[in-house]
């Protein structure tokens, strides 16, 4: 066996090989490190990830730093303008107790933004995870077992045609009390909404994953595993799932964004969380009537939603590039 390791120390020093073919790069480089290295070169993605981490930290740690209860009504201090407003309008009603101002019932906008962000992000993440799980499951089963394909794809059509609102109403009717008993009122409604969004948004993922699996099934390494005698129940977790991961990740980033948006649309339609339970979408919706007089009340939540969605999208772009061997290194 004469094939000396190609990346022997001597050649490595003289021929650093940073080419598109990273095959000879640093020893032990795992694929994930590689993806990460690639991801880092995508400026937008890194910015997006940084923003997302910051926003998440802001929402998680916020209540410990800004210790105002978002539900606190301070009617005497209602309709305050944000502090910075005093810069150009010295007559504005401002107070340091409410740096971003307060709403018509005197609730603190900053505290509401933090609390709303927690809910919006939690809804986004959980609904997205749920929809990914369902989408992947359906996609993988439909793609891998051709007998299930027809049935599952028709099922996908069915769900596509289902109207979300009556579905949510039915779910509320059927499960609200038991969920409330089991998880408490807020968690219960949270679970309902998340489930509602989750089970009505997995269809695209399922289609994409199915396509990927169909293509994957033709790949030789699947054949190789079959020639070893690997049964389907191990084939899927071992070979199929890891290889559709990149598609799933990319559609996950979009899923997160659209879950946040769907939640805000639900607020518009009057479904969704109890009124004392702010979310970014609801803050935005509740303030549209007063946006001419109090633009800050729409700008902050609107900005929070947009920037989160934008950063998540950039992360998706970055991930796609990082996972795509063809673009690697470009």
């Amino acid at each position: 066996m004469t094939d000396a390791p190609a990346a022997g120390p001597s050649s490595a020093t003289k021929m650093p090989m940073p080419g598109p073919d990273v095959r000879l790069a640093a020893a032990g480089a795992s694929q994930w490190k590689d993806v990460w290295r690639q991801f880092r070169t995508h400026k937008g993605a890194v910015l997006g990830a940084t923003f997302l981490v910051l926003v998440t930290l802001f929402c998680i740690l916020g209540p410990w730093i800004w210790r105002v209860d978002p539900g606190d009504l301070d009617v005497r201090n209602k309709d305050l303008r944000p502090i910075y407003h005093a810069l150009w309008d010295s007559g504005a009603k401002v107070a340091w107790a409410h740096p971003l101002g307060s709403d018509n019932l005197g609730r603190d906008l900053l505290a509401s933004l933090i609390a709303g962000g927690r809910v919006s992000l939690a809804v986004g993440w959980t609904a997205m995870l749920l929809s990914m799980v369902i989408g992947t499951l359906v996609g993988v089963l439909a793609g891998y077992f051709w007998r299930l394909d027809g049935v599952l794809m028709r099922f996908t059509d069915l769900v596509l045609a289902l109207p979300l609102l009556p579905l949510l109403l039915v779910m509320m009717l059927l499960f609200r009390d038991s969920l409330r008993a089991a998880f408490g009122p807020e968690m219960g409604i949270f679970l309902l909404i998340v489930t509602g969004i989750g089970i009505t948004s997995w269809m695209n993922t399922a289609r994409i994953v199915r396509g990927d699996v169909l293509a994957l099934k033709e790949r030789e390494f699947i054949l190789a595993a079959r020639s070893i005698g690997t049964p389907a129940r191990r084939m899927i977790p071992r070979h199929i799932l890891p290889n559709v991961m990149s598609s799933i990740m990319v559609s996950a980033t979009l899923g997160l964004a659209s879950a946040i948006i769907t939640e805000s649309a639900l607020s518009f339609l009057g479904l969704g969380f109890p009124s004392d339970f702010p979310t970014w979408g609801k803050l935005l919706f509740d303030s549209t009537d007063r946006m001419a007089d109090f633009p800050e009340r729409v700008i902050w939540p609107g900005l929070a939603i947009s920037l989160t969605v934008l950063s998540v999208n950039y992360i998706g772009d970055g991930l796609r590039d990082a996972f795509d061997p063809r673009i690697r290194g470009r």
Binding site: A4, M15, P18, P20, D21, T41, G329, R330
Partner: protein, 341 residues
Amino acid sequence: MPDGAPPILEVRDLRTVFRLRSGDVHAVNGVSFDLREGELLGVVGESGSGKSVTMMSLLGLLPSPPAEVLGGPVTFEGKDLLRAGPEAMRAVRGGRIGFVFQDPMTSLNPVFTVGFQIMEPLRKHLGLGKRQARARAAELLALVGIPDAGRRLDDYPHQFSGGMRQRVMIAIALACDPKVLIADEPTTALDVTIQAQIIELMQELRQKMGMAVIWITHDLGVIAGIADRVIVMYGGQIVEHAPVDALFANPRHPYTQALLTTVPKVQGERVRRLAVIDGQPPILGQFPDECTFRDRCPYAFDVCHRLNPQRYPVGEGHDAACFLNDPGLAPQRPVLEVVDG
């Protein structure tokens, strides 16, 4: 043999670098050669040795960024192609120089008919009208041996077999009677019997149309059958250049020699064990200052690790970039045995 014919294409010190986010890749490092009228110049070398990039650099076909073509000049019909404007370059491409690519399966646009794709350069370069172009396209298809050519113009590429698609590619390349045809591994993707058909076709066409051909391949067997002169590339450089007989009879670069021994034969004595070249071809992160073959070379000695050899002339129209051929260094090194091809 067009031995003394004047060169129509002269390439001097061509360099191509890919500037990637992860660093540079030096794909072509100072390549010089020329092509004479009517001859067939074979280019061999293993995968990644820079054969395709060299040829595409000539015509500006590389995506830029990341590719950057340096050096030159590349003189064709008195013009420096590297410094010609985009319009002039387009007139050369497809008009004066035809290109045939390796993979006939993907090199044709799947959504346009074959006829349309042949007519495109005809209308662009020769300014033919629709009717004329169509008639000429049918002629071309017939020329490359596709039966029932007139009717098949309206077929899509996927309705053709691999061999036929490659013929279509050739027809496109020949459409405007080019002076030079560059064929980048035109038969590698094809079956042996089909490969034989294409080679025969090319030879026939060359006789008929009298153009010069650059034929890229990694199959020495193909070269042996058709080429007049051969260039051997390694690591983005020309390591050996010789008339075909001289190359096979008397290879002067260790790489060429090794290459000739690794391939088993269908005739003659069956070797008990195949000779191998250990190691991998290099990918160059910088312009090589030392011999690129040194790590795989059984004869490598100290100079090889310090300097990049120039091309030493070793015979009539024959040179090799190896210090073993440097008379000045000769005493210090092991004797280069001439391996029998």
